[in-house]
Symmetry: C2
Subunit: 236 residues, 2 copies
Amino acid sequence: MLSTRVCAECAVRDRSLCGSLSDDELVALNRIGQRRRIARGETLIWAGDESIICANLLDGMMKLSASTSDGREQTVGLLYPADFIGRPFARQAGFTVTALTDAELCVFPRGQFEAVLHDHVHMERLLLERTFAALEDARGRMLTLARRTAEERVAAFLIDMADRFGSAGCRASNDAPLTFDLPLTRGEMAELLGLTIETVSRQLTRLKTDGLIALPGPRAITIRDRQQLEGRAEAA
Amino acid sequence: MLSTRVCAECAVRDRSLCGSLSDDELVALNRIGQRRRIARGETLIWAGDESIICANLLDGMMKLSASTSDGREQTVGLLYPADFIGRPFARQAGFTVTALTDAELCVFPRGQFEAVLHDHVHMERLLLERTFAALEDARGRMLTLARRTAEERVAAFLIDMADRFGSAGCRASNDAPLTFDLPLTRGEMAELLGLTIETVSRQLTRLKTDGLIALPGPRAITIRDRQQLEGRAEAA
DNA sequence: CGTGGGCTTGATCTAGTTCAACTAACGTGG
DNA sequence: CCACGTTAGTTGAACTAGATCAAGCCCACG
């Protein structure tokens, strides 16, 4: 009873995997799930560790990252609220999962989560669809990392962030200036875009001096000319 | 009856998704599946096209590729026998699928394949596991494309190919020279590794002059010192 | 106040691209 | 059977996008 309440009040109930479950099914999931808060910078899972947990991200933002043996790092995915974390059916975690902001999770022991998955075909189907979507995203990013210029990467990233965090909903084609705070530092952007901090910074100031964006504060971005920014993102 | 025979004789029966089905379940799949041969260079699916088919690769090798609007291309995945092709539950194909060698496929209409998937939970589970594996592979490749040097990419690629095509099974740690034919041209390697043809060629001749490999013919590779080659692949 | 992290800016360097020959292998048709 | 065009591969010289190295700036926080 109380436990269904917890899920019923979940911020991402309707968007997460759990949205596929009926109220009574949620009871089972609640029994194995545990709320957990994690601070910005903390890492939940280390690549190579035994894969013991899965989770749903309830609030905040996290990153998935990989690194070479000599320490070069690359962010290979971003996680947003309602996203699924972890890899069922695998013994080892493939990537490191770290909080980019303070975050809140619903954590499940992997084995038990697999059992729930097994018993709830619809949930498994949803996870399959999400995994396909993640795969498509990763492959698209491969094109970016391998072939796009620094300017294209930065411009495309800003547009993506504007669409996610730009207030006043999705007024995508609106040409009024739009201001929002980036949830990532320059260093985190560099790690995501396959560049260095300096290059990211230079590209931003270039877009600023060209009048396409403004930088009201270190973390704030104003999109002043979305049209042109889109042009820079896909310089045909 | 005849139709089950077709699957029973399938070269990849035990390794493909279909391996999860009982003989009588195969009948259903056979009814919707169709053998198809495709020549080297032909493309089966174009990115952006309506997603009408799924398939199993029976024999040969294919690539998945993406490109920018101005024609820069990147191979985002390789497909080997028994691999699954296509994206169920999506209306559009995300990537172009092209044969790297003459190939043979078992093709299913997407909708009908989805229905089979729906009716055979075990098969859906297998597909989920494969999709996770593909996702992990794609993310690992992101690290390579963003952070590794040309030499590391080429060396790692050769080791991967040696493990797949090196005759006499997986004598991975054997230090006897191992010769095999690359299934990819220099251009295809470049597209896969995020480099240019010239860079791939130069790296290969460097590895040759350093004595780690030999190049008996344009397509042939001899691994002469796997240890050292591995060192070049992960220059710690 | 000073100290440290995040950010910017400048100067220099370099790995890999680009451009340009050139070579080798391979069919195809005269 | 050989000339010839074509495609794949190699090699060299020059160039450049982005990395690296090196200050400095700004502000929050102890």
